[in-house]
């Protein structure tokens, strides 16, 4: 409703000028002005929706194309000099090929293990740290917190070189430990969680202290349940990050048995099904993309809220 007003009123304010010139605005004149305003609104809406729809098509087209291609047979695809926008004989063979010709299931399992363990470990590290910064009093707290904050500005490209050398010298190449360990802390998430913990009334903490509840028990029984929305948001953001991780896994794994999906996709691109089997490639892409899209559609509001609070992609 408010939107309609916004557009209508400037019109009616500027439009009545002729009406003031001839003090008796006739009914027909009034109707004409109304009609003009209405017409303008329709045109404006049509333009807006056309623009939005065109953008939506630009966003969706790659998704449509990968789905479409994944159902074409290889020979049908290769025979289309002019790509067709529909499939005449849809086939599921590409999906079977995706799981049999390359170890896609293995890549999936690796990514799943990597994502779950990294996220869980990260929670074990960041929740106590955020609690310490938010509620506990100890010497050096403010100094350490400022040092933590300054670490937020360090780009990962700077530290990845030494981490690569470290992990290699620990003989952790091609192991889950090597993949996971460098990415279990995030200063930013500690900061986000600390802010959230601080909003919980300190009286609760004091009351718990009086009752003789230990800090750890208080953290688990009171703080974590109250801060659950933020914890869920952080978990989802981390899961997305893990699922899309490419650079670090590429450096640290060269054994196909330890590849994550991103590396698997890259491997398939370079020499997977034989470069020409585009439909099988697209089937793999669909299989890799679907889990995150489902996660997104289920947690749509949580994800969008979380990303606007703390996500960047770059």
């Amino acid at each position: 409703m408010a939107d309609n007003e916004k557009e209508l009123i400037p019109e009616t304010v500027t439009a009545p000028e002729p009406a003031i010139a001839s003090p008796i605005a006739t009914q027909s004149e009034y109707d004409r002005i109304e009609r003009a305003a209405k017409r303008r609104k329709i045109i404006r809406n049509a333009l807006l929706y056309t623009f939005l729809t065109l953008c939506a098509i630009a966003v969706l087209f790659p998704f449509y194309w990968m789905l479409l291609t994944s159902f074409k047979t290889q020979s049908a695809y290769n025979n289309e000099v002019t790509p067709k926008f529909y499939v005449s004989e849809p086939t599921g063979a590409n999906y079977k090929e995706a799981f049999t010709a390359v170890p896609l299931a293995g890549y999936f399992l690796n990514t799943l293990i990597y994502t779950v363990v990294t996220t869980a470990l990260m929670m074990i590290v960041i929740v106590p740290a955020a609690f310490a910064f938010a509620r506990m009093r100890f010497p050096g707290r403010n100094l350490v917190f400022s040092l933590f904050l300054s670490l937020m500005m360090i780009p990962s490209e700077l530290v990845i070189i030494t981490n690569y050398v470290t992990i290699t010298s620990w003989n952790m190449r091609n192991t889950f430990a090597g993949l996971i360990l460098p990415s279990v802390t995030s200063v930013f998430y500690i900061y986000l969680l600390k802010e959230n913990f601080e909003q919980i009334p300190e009286e609760l903490y004091k009351a718990a202290k009086v009752d003789g509840t230990s800090d750890f028990k208080y953290l688990l029984r009171v703080m974590v349940p109250i801060a659950k929305p933020t914890i869920v948001t952080i978990t989802i953001l981390k899961v997305i990050e893990c699922w899309n991780a490419y650079v670090w896994p590429r450096l640290i794994t060269d054994d196909r048995k330890r590849f994550l999906v991103s590396n698997g996709i890259q491997e398939i691109r370079q020499n997977g099904f034989g470069r020409d089997n585009i439909p099988a490639m697209m089937a793999t892409v669909v299989v890799v993309s679907v889990p995150l899209i489902i996660l997104f559609l289920v947690f749509r509001n949580k994800i969008m809220e979380g990303v606007s609070r703390g996500g960047t992609k770059g």
Partner: protein
């Protein structure tokens, strides 16, 4: 009470341990590496310190190429994506029905695997012996001649890279700008309407100043993100970016570290520090400009 004075440190211990090993130590180490000349990865020895690594990197034609590509990418994609995101968010916030649906659709690229969708873009733009590909079909439909965007001329590859980057970064920007637009108080618009202000004036005098902090936030993060571009390029052109002539600064760092031309952590460190210096300088300039231009 006494023994619990240092208990806070116990809660911080895991975080400090991990940050110390994987962040603070590497930070010092990378500077050391960058000054060690002729560092040997196997024996872990070097023959002196100096600026040789920096000189080598700055003279390396691959690095110069990567620097050029990165700057072109930054200069094109940051304004284009921010402008487009602003247009889309403005359109989104002036319609009511279907707004949620559009928002959901526009956000989809954010949750997709960059490498996976990059493959789809490659297929759309690639010219093979069987077919010219989807995009060339469109170009020919409008009377142009077809180009191989993946293995063809440099400008064509650059174009695909920019298009894909914009496609990838738009969701985040649209999300931030729509919520910024929604947070502008309705009162200002009402007051302007009572005064009979023209819509364009409302935009320049109310909307734009009110959301300017967010626009600058997006420009700054956009610059930083674009300077770190790498996986999008791998998705489109494969891992051997140097021979495709499409390497980026981050790509150069990783290639120096690992892969066919890898094994030179010193050169990689020098390149990483150069990248950091560039990003840091540009961010400072951005912050200075925004301080003079953001009205709030």
């Amino acid at each position: 009470m006494k023994q619990s004075k240092y208990k806070g440190w116990l809660y911080l211990l895991p975080a400090i341990l991990f940050l110390g090993i994987f962040m603070v130590y590497p930070l010092i180490d990378v500077v050391v590496y960058s000054f060690e000349e002729g560092y040997n990865f196997v024996s872990q020895t070097s023959n002196g310190t100096g600026l040789y690594n920096y000189r080598y990197v700055l003279r390396d034609p691959y690095f110069v190429q990567a620097l050029k590509n990165t700057f072109v990418l930054v200069i094109i994609t940051v304004p284009v994506s921010t402008g487009l995101a602003l247009l889309i968010s403005l359109a989104l916030s002036s319609v009511k029905p279907l707004r949620n649906l559009f928002q959901t659709v526009y956000f989809l690229p954010y949750v997709t695997n960059t490498l996976a969708v990059g493959l789809v873009f490659m297929v759309l733009f690639k010219k093979t012996e069987y077919t010219d590909g989807m995009v060339n079909l469109l170009i020919r439909f409008f009377g142009g001649s077809s180009v191989d965007f993946i293995d063809g001329p440099h400008w064509a590859k650059m174009l695909v890279m920019c298009i894909y980057t914009v496609w990838i970064v738009l969701p985040f920007k649209i999300l931030i700008l729509t919520s910024a637009l929604a947070s502008v108080k309705e009162d200002y618009y009402r007051a302007a309407r009572v005064d009979g202000t023209r819509p364009s004036r409302i935009f320049y005098r109310i909307t734009l100043p009110m959301i300017s902090p967010m626009i600058f936030y997006l420009i700054i993060t956009g610059f930083i993100g674009a300077f770190k571009a790498y996986s999008d390029e791998v998705a489109l052109f494969g891992t051997d970016l140097n021979s495709a002539g499409m390497n980026t600064m981050v790509g150069y760092i990783y290639d120096m570290l690992y892969g066919n031309s890898g094994g030179y952590p010193s050169f990689a460190s020098a390149a990483a520090l150069i990248l950091f210096a560039v990003v840091f300088t540009i961010t400072c300039i951005n912050l200075m400009v925004s301080r003079n231009n953001v009205h709030y």
